[in-house]
Structures are given as structure tokens and as C-alpha cells.
Amino acid sequence: MSQRVFVTGFGIITSIGKNAEENFRSLLNRSHGFGPIEILDTVHRNSISACEIKLTEEELCSLAGVKQHEGFTRTSLLGLIALNEAIQSANLSREEIKNSGLVSATTTGGIREFETYFDELMDAEKHGDFVRFADTATSGEHCERMADHVGIRKYLGTISTACSSSANSIMHGAQLIRNNKLERVICGGAEALSKFTLNGFNTLMILDNGHCRPFDAARNGLNIGEGAAYLVLESESALLTSGKKPMAEVKGYGNANDAFHQTASSPDGAGAYLAMKMALNSAGIEPQDVDYINAHGTATENNDLSEGLGIKRLFGESIPLFSSTKPYTGHTLAAAGSVEAVFSLLTLQNGMIWPNLNYRNIMPDLRIEPVVQLEERSKLRNVLSNSFGFGGNTSSLLLAFV
């Protein structure tokens, strides 16, 4: 029998808050994390702003409950902070943690530390403390590091599908539960700002130097952000045993590929359409059952048009309320899927739909408008959360009220 999959806890850290409560307050108060870069050491400090978490490594270590100088990368520290909160919020015992799986996502893992000590690491003559970062240029390092710290051993996996990564973590976790391979999986992603990614996106010329404007006619690119978020997923049978009350259900998911271009979305949103449609199909619901879409909405020319057309194709004339929360947190890359899954859970729990900041004018070739003021609804049933990425990856999650 395939198992139903429930969310029993979550944790999050972004530029708008270091836990779920702070993130919720910021969403409620329209306060965003966009501003000058102060922590990352880069020549672009005066020219590119970002949604940076204004905490030093020292402060992050203390929040994560680890000693300094033990070789935790910024990505791992952000991850640990969110992971610890998720574990607490689901009230997991030591034994339950040990028997959990951890599926985490990141694009570049500990590249920030690898780039900081690159010259030293490459010079065999040099010796010192930096050697603890010798293995951080791999995505998987952060997952093992976090698992070791909290004591997870049953199943480990790291996903790296660019900006859709952590939506795929949640999907993989749900699959493991549905297939009776695990009773409990903690899924999400973590991503720290680095020179590598900041410059990567800058060379692609898709960064907006101003505050990003998703779905606006004059949108001009994305803002890069950093953060981490994790969801605790548990099987129906685990909940029957523990009597724990779920927060929501992971009811469906879809993963497809645009197969159009290495870094651009197709002009007709074929991949976006497919991913959303598969999510609805696997949840066994109809388009009219969707109450809100937390869009990928990066505010690039290309993404918003492609995603918007995909939405129009699936929903026709009755398009559900939708918004992008990227102006709050920036694009947290591999963490975006789980960050926005948490925002969607906050939507379901509180009956609140987060406004799309900075929207002014309708896109002439799309003619759909996002939610711009906080909307309160007494009954929200189903929320779609979209995450797309380079390589044509498109993923969509369907989270439902229980």
C-alpha cells in the first residue's frame, strides 16, 4: 500500500528572519531582506545588492549550536539552524531522528569556503587550519556534515538541480515514504551566498541592481538571496502510532523538463505546465481545486513569461490567486523550493496569501496579475508551489490543508 505523506514540522532561515516566526512576521509586514551586501567579501558590494542574512559565521555558529572553527561552511550552518528548528517543531525523539532520512539540496555547497581558501588549498607547501575546508567544493558535504551533527544515519541524499533542487528533495522524501522505504524524512535545502554564484548570475546578466519585480511589465532580473529551510515528512502509519497531528499533507508533486535550452525557459512554458499538471494529477485534484500558487516568479524576463503562460495553459480563464515571494527573500537558489514550501505551509496554517511586492503594471503578453495586498481566506485547501531551474528542470509541489 502506498502511504500518504504528511508535514509535521518545519524550520527556516532567510534574510527576513532566522526562524519560522520571524519569517511569518516579515511576510505579514511586507518587510523584505533586500539591501547592500555587508557580510560577503566581494568587489560588487557597491554595485549589486542582495538578500543577504546579516549574520557573521560566528553568530551563525552560536545560533546553530556548534563551536567555531570546526569546519562548518556557511551553507551547513544555515542548514543546521533550519534543520534544528524543523526537528524541534516536529518534536522528534533521538531515536526518531536516528531513523530518519535526510534529503538536502544545494547548488554549490561549501564553495564559499573553498573560494576563500582556494590559493592555500592548491599550494602543497602551505599548511594550516584551512585544510578543514579541503572537501567543501562538493554539494554532498553539507548533507553529511548536518546528518553527523544531528545524528541521522538511515538514509542520506543530496539533490542538485539548480534552482528547483529543494522542491525535488521534498519530492524524493515523499517518494521514499510512499514506497514504504522510510517512515520519516527531513527534506529541504541550504544555500549561502558566495562570490562564485553572485558572479555566475552576474555574468549571465540576469541580476536586477534594484529590488526585483516579479510579474511586472518592467521586471528586470532577479535578486540573489541565501537561506535554508527543511520540512519533516512523516508517513500516515507513523502518525497513527505516535498520535501526532499533521500540519499539512504533501498531496502531489510533478517533475518535468522543458528540454528547450541549457539556461532559459521555453517561451511557451511547456515544462512549467507539465510539472503543475503532474502535481495535480498525482494529488487527484482538478485545476479549480487550487486556491493559491506560490510561483517561482524570479522576475527575469524569461521565467515570469514562461511560467505565466504555463499557468494560463493549465488554468484557462479561472486562474487562482498567485504571487511570488522572491522580493522578500531574493532567489535562494537550491533552497528556494523548500523556503517557498514553508511559506506555502504558513499560507495554509494562517489562511493568508502573501502579496507580490513591487508589482505595478500588467505584462502585456501575459495579462494576468499577482496578489498585491495580503489576502485572508477562511478556507484554503490546496496550494501549488513552483520551482524551476537551469537545465530545464521544472518542479511543482501540491500542499494540502488537513
Binding site: S2, T42, V43, H44, T107, T108, I111, F114, E115, F118, L121, M122, A124, V131, A134, D135, A137, T138, S139, G140, C143, E144, A147, D148, R153, K154, Y155, L156, G157, T158, I159, S160, T161, A162, H172, Q175, L176, N179, K181, K195, F196, N199, G200, N202, T203, L204, N255, A256, N257, A259, F260, H261, Q262, T263, L274, G389, F390, G391, G392, N393
Partner: protein, 357 residues
């Protein structure tokens, strides 16, 4: 009730430090190395990639796309229903190129292509684009568990849709940056050795390898079926005695006795400390099976499980064990029916894969 296997390997494509790109050739010629870094023996890429596309691709993307193409051709499938790739260190060569520019040109006038081709999912995206596959697409970058995650993901998809065909593969490259960084933490041997004498060494560390291998996995048999995968299991950082318990449980869950296992593929890496663990396990649980080893031919890398999988699939399909991989010839069964792969990475990530004819 959904199906839970077996999962048939209906096509294979592999490019490795040995001459493996021709599916009909099974280690008839062995390549020796004497400098501890084993790099791919590559085919003429023009046979697999069109020249306009090729110009823009990094060396590793060419290797990966060629391996995927060989697999598709071997399986007789034009476009798979889904693509899952795995890697340990990703496209580290392109990552290093971009990083060098960032650091040496004070973050100015950088080459976007290096960045675009540095993302771990670049190969899965490229294969999808090349073969117009809009289906499921995923990439695992889990160090020593990437290929295992990919296989388990694929097997779960096939439980739901057994008639589909998924292209599942891995890539890792012997990048200079990784070598320089990893040798500091004891991943690789300091003294130069001949790769064919790897298992005679008594020192720490292994030799670096690389490679890309793809498998066409389906819940249905086809005319090109090589063998079947019954099950995959991972054990992370086992406590004393745990590996033996987990392996015995793995075999009993799959209703297999140790006696049924004709061949064990041993993922020993030539690291004197690490190999004790896996060799002891084999001695304790499957001492009566024939034992083959492969890391002297492939080198050590995070997704070496795919080389092990290719080796086991080839033995089952061709009913032949090349001399170069034979480590202990403990029996002579009439037919080679069942193979157990036991792989390990850095004595931290352990993998069991059960494969059958």
C-alpha cells in the same frame, strides 16, 4: 499493490579509464597507469555528438553525453521517459575555471559558459535537450551515495510505472583541483604506484579515477536486456557489527542465501585502513563466492558504484569473468546467476546491490 522490481537493465553505456565505450568489448585490453590519476579512454566523440553542439561542450559533458548516447543506442530507445544523473563532485573542472577567473580577475570579465556548465545538473539537462525528453529529470550530488540515490529514485518511479524506461547514470571527473585538495586529507596515495598493483600496496589512500556510465532501467524486459537489479541498499558510517547485520538482513529480505551468490564485486580501494572493513565483511558473510575487484582499473571516485554495476551486468550478460578483475576464484558454477556488489567510499558510504541474470 504496486510492483517492487525486478528492474531490468536494458542498455548500458560507459566511458572509463579502461576501453569500455564499445558495449561488445569486455576488458579484452587493460590500460596501465603509473601516476595515480586514471582518466577516461575516450571514443571519437563525433560518433555520438553533432559537431555544432560539440564545440560548446566541456570535456566531461562530451564524455557524459557520449555515454548516454551509447546507452540509448544499446537499448534501442530513441528518447527515455526520464533522466536521473548522479555525481560526487560535479563539473569540478568548469567550476575551477570559473573560480580561477573570479579570483584572478577580481570578479570582472568572466566567462558565462564556465558557470553554466559548472552546475551539477548540466548533463541531465543536456541529455534531455538532446533527446527531447520532457519527462522526469533529477540530479543527485551526494558524494559517495549519488548513484545509489539515483537508482533508488528510478526504482520507485518504476514501481508506479513499470513499463517506462529511465536513463540513469553518473559522472565524475579527475579534476586537478580535487586531487590537490583531497590528497591533503589522505584520500589519495602520496607515492606513485602502478594501478594494476593497487591491492598489493599497504598504505593509506587510493588512486583517483573518473568516468561516466548510464543504464537504461525498466520494469519490463526487452530484447536488449543485460540483467536485472533486485535491490539497492545503503549504510552510512556503520557502527561495529552493523555492516554484517545489514548485509544479512538485505539478503534475507530478498530471499537470497549467501550460497546463492556466485560473484561478489568488492569495492576495495587499495587504502590499507578502509579495505579491512569491506574485506572482513566479505569474509564473514559471503566467503564462498568468487570475488572480483575493479578499482585498480577505474580508480576511486564518488560514483564508482556505476563502474561496479557495469562490471556485474557485463559478467551476467557475457557469462565470463575477465582475468584482470578476478581476485579469488572460489568456485566454478555452471551458470553465473547472482552477483552481489559491495561498494564503499572512504569507508563511510557502503552500498549493497543485488543483481541477477
Amino acid at each position: 499493490m504496486e510492483k517492487t522490481g525486478p528492474y531490468y537493465i536494458n542498455g548500458v553505456g560507459i566511458i572509463s579509464p579502461q576501453k569500455t565505450f564499445d558495449p561488445d568489448n569486455f576488458l579484452s585490453e587493460i590500460i596501465e597507469y603509473d601516476h595515480n590519476v586514471l582518466t577516461c579512454v575516450t571514443p571519437d566523440f563525433k560518433a555520438y555528438i553533432n559537431p555544432i553542439q560539440m564545440r560548446r561542450l566541456s570535456h566531461m559533458l562530451r564524455i557524459g553525453l557520449s555515454a548516454a548516447t551509447i546507452c540509448l543506442r544499446d537499448s534501442g530507445i530513441k528518447s527515455p521517459d526520464g533522466i536521473i544523473t548522479a555525481t560526487g563532485y560535479g563539473f569540478l573542472e568548469e567550476t575551477a575555471k570559473f573560480l580561477n577567473e573570479v579570483l584572478n580577475q577580481s570578479e570582472k570579465q568572466l566567462t558565462p559558459t564556465y558557470f553554466m556548465q559548472s552546475t551539477s545538473n548540466a548533463l541531465a539537462g543536456l541529455v534531455a535537450l538532446t533527446f527531447k525528453c520532457m519527462g522526469f529529470n533529477n540530479t543527485y550530488a551526494s558524494k559517495g551515495f549519488g548513484m545509489e540515490n539515483a537508482l533508488i529514485d528510478g526504482m520507485m518511479q518504476l514501481n508506479q510505472n513499470p513499463s517506462t524506461s529511465l536513463l540513469i547514470g553518473s559522472y565524475d571527473e579527475a579534476a586537478d583541483v580535487q586531487y590537490k585538495a583531497s590528497i591533503r586529507v589522505g584520500h589519495f596515495k602520496v607515492e606513485y604506484i602502478n594501478n594494476l598493483r593497487l591491492f598489493e600496496t599497504k598504505t593509506k589512500g587510493s588512486i583517483q579515477g573518473e568516468g561516466s556510465a548510464f543504464f537504461m532501467l525498466s520494469g519490463n524486459k526487452s530484447s536488449s536486456t543485460w540483467c536485472a537489479i533486485r535491490d539497492v541498499h545503503m549504510v552510512y558510517k556503520p557502527e561495529p557489527g552493523e555492516l554484517k547485520r545489514e548485509l544479512e538482513k538485505f539478503l534475507s529480505t530478498n530471499k537470497i542465501s549467501a550460497h546463492d551468490i556466485d560473484v561478489v564485486v568488492n569495492g576495495a580501494s587499495g587504502d590499507v585502513d578502509h579495505d579491512i572493513i569491506i574485506n572482513d565483511l566479505i569474509h564473514q558473510v559471503v566467503a564462498g563466492s568468487m570475488e572480483v575487484r575493479f578499482k585498480h582499473l577505474s580508480g576511486e571516485y564518488s560514483t564508482s558504484t556505476s563502474f561496479a554495476g557495469w562490471l556485474a551486468a557485463s559478467i551476467l550478460k557475457k557469462q565470463n569473468i575477465p582475468k584482470a578483475v578476478m581476485h579469488a576464484h572460489r568456485r566454478s558454477p555452471k551458470k553465473l546467476e547472482t552477483i552481489l556488489v559491495i561498494n564503499q567510499y572512504m569507508a563511510k558510504n557502503f552500498t549493497f546491490i543485488l543483481m541477477q541474470r
